[in-house]
Amino acid sequence: MWKIADVEIESRLFLGTAQYRNPELLRRAIVESGTQVVTVSLRRQSKALHGAENFWGLIQQSGVRVLPNTAGCRSVKEAVSTAQMARQVFDTNWIKLEVVGNEHTLQPDPFGLVEAARILCEDGFYVFPYTNDDPVVAERLLAAGCRILMPWGAPIGSGRGLQNEYALKVLRDQFPHTPLLVDAGIGAPSHAARAMELGYDGVLLNTAVARSEDPPKMAKAFAQAVEAGRLAYEAGLIQVKQKAEASTPVLGTPFWQHELPRGTL
């Protein structure tokens, strides 16, 4: 059990809802993942949400909490107005804040992000900023009022895994009390497990499940990986060593069972 904005949450896996081959696969993936928070992009559908009752109804029926996002927004103004619209439509002050800085890499624009975060936090939003792994940017986001950070693992949709594990570790060490989620770039359950082993509080992913051959099964694989990674973190991983260290002591083993170097007999 962990907490976001005073909401108790059990699952540490957040799921995106885009790119599924059909809504039924999305519904089953949500069930199999055990997720309690799904992200929803408002931008494209905003115009006719009432008409999309079936699709949203399906998400709402699954009983999960909706985290609207500002996906694809390229300016502060655009992101802020999308967030305000989302608050009305979904009746939540949660917002996953994305301000795209580069069309090619979909890299977050740290300057616009901090500015938009400040505006939204002052306006009463609980902002989940999609950011890079720079601790200075992280600091500014917290100063702007964010209480959670979501650094990327790799570019959105690339499935490349944690490209800079060192930077993610530094963030974890520098902000031990801030909830941290790896958002974007996760391609395989092992990537998600690794993020959790580093002590991250959760992961957010979409493409790796949605575009897999069997999204419900992949969702389950991710759920298990996230849980395994978290348990490993809590249990405490051993230190990596340079040399072998026998797990059974040789003392007490009959000498003829010791493996001898060649040519000694």
């Binding site: 059909n22 809504p23 519904r27 115009k47 006719a48 999309a52």
Partner: protein, 357 residues
């Protein structure tokens, strides 16, 4: 005594259903709310018959309906007195060099779902041989030699004409207020039948149906000479350019989760038209003849269904695949009507859809 059936909805499914039941000796009344059925999805379609390529985001059931449907189209078109543009010259899928992995993933999925599917990689010269005019940035593509395309509007016109010749009563411009197993109620009368068939789109009385918005353009491009449908893989929509006679082309189609019939948005127009322009710069000089918006009727798994509900025979939820699967699907619906159930490979068509919202 001749059995009488009412078919509600004169899109491709309703019209083919009427044609098939007619051939089986039924006397048919065909209802549509429009005077000239031009408001339905079938009118807004592109007539792309991508029996293999559809596996990108469709389940294997679509493929098993689509493959026999392609052969059926050839014989259906042959029986019509009016000529209908129909060709099986294959289709081609291209991908922007930056998104190459997408095409690989698509091919892998098709191979896994159907190892025998007819599909080949074309590179450089062999690609140019097939379509000399596509932009030089495209150096490779996937070719599906068995696929084809049909002029959807010409087909509907010809089919409706044929149905009139066959003695079908056409009740066009006649909205149906309610229907049951044996009755159809309109504003002027209540008609009785041996069987009522609901072939409507989003408005069908089947639970779990939703509308998925799609937008497309019809253009005339005298400078463009493409011989077969070309798909351009795009992260959000399956975008295609489908040739019609006289240098006209259908450029479609967006796929947006909402039931909104409003005009084409600027964003969608940019996405569709720039995709066409990337394939062939000659589209820059094309005239836009029409921009079309429609909502595809879909169950939550985007798969079609045919089933009995309170005595009414339903054939609904064809989503993006109306022309692709309707010949086989309507044959199965007739089988369901006459035998009471479907044979195993198609039994899942009878399962009730998950009801949502």
């Amino acid at each position: 005594m001749t059995r009488r059936a009412a078919i509600v909805g004169a899109g491709v499914v309703g019209s083919l259903m009427a044609w098939r039941l007619n051939q089986r000796g039924w006397r048919i009344d065909l209802f549509d709310r429009d005077e000239h059925p031009s408001q339905n999805c079938s009118h807004a379609a592109a007539g792309l018959l991508d029996s293999v390529g559809a596996l990108e985001d469709a389940e294997p059931l679509i493929h098993s309906l689509a493959a026999p449907s392609l052969d059926m189209w050839a014989s259906i078109v042959d029986t019509l007195s009016e000529p209908v543009f129909f060709q099986r010259r294959g289709t081609l899928a291209l991908v922007h060099p930056n998104d190459r992995e997408q095409l690989d993933q698509w091919q892998q999925r098709i191979r896994r779902l159907n190892p025998q599917a007819a599909m080949e990689w074309l590179r450089g010269e062999s690609l140019r041989e097939l379509e000399p005019e596509i932009d030089s940035r495209f150096q490779e593509g996937l070719y599906f030699p068995m696929e084809g395309n049909i002029d959807n509007r010409a087909l509907l016109r010809a089919l409706h004409l044929q149905l009139r010749h066959m003695g079908t009563q056409m009740h066009f411009g006649t909205p149906v207020l309610s229907l049951s197993a044996n009755t159809v109620e309109t504003s002027t009368a209540e008609h009785s039948y041996d069987q009522v068939v609901d072939c409507r789109g989003v408005k069908a009385s089947a639970p779990g149906l939703r509308g998925v918005r799609g937008e497309l353009f019809i253009v005339r491009a005298p400078d463009v000479e493409l011989h077969r449908p070309i798909r351009l893989l795009h992260p959000k929509h399956p975008i295609y350019v489908v040739p019609r006679p006289n240098h006209s082309y259908v450029i479609g189609a967006t796929q947006i989760e909402c039931e909104d019939y409003g005009p084409v948005t600027v964003r969608s127009a940019l996405e569709l038209l720039s995709a066409a322009y990337v394939i062939h710069s000659g589209f820059g000089e094309a005239e836009i003849l029409e921009s079309v918006t429609q909502c595809r009727p879909a169950f939550t798994d985007n798969q079609p269904r045919t089933f009995f509900r309170e005595g009414v025979l339903h054939v609904n939820g064809l989503f993006r695949h109306g022309f692709l699967v309707s010949p086989k699907l309507t044959e199965l619906a007739c089988e369901l009507l006459e035998c009471g159930q479907l044979a195993p490979p198609f039994r899942e068509l009878e399962t009730e859809a998950t009801q949502c919202a």
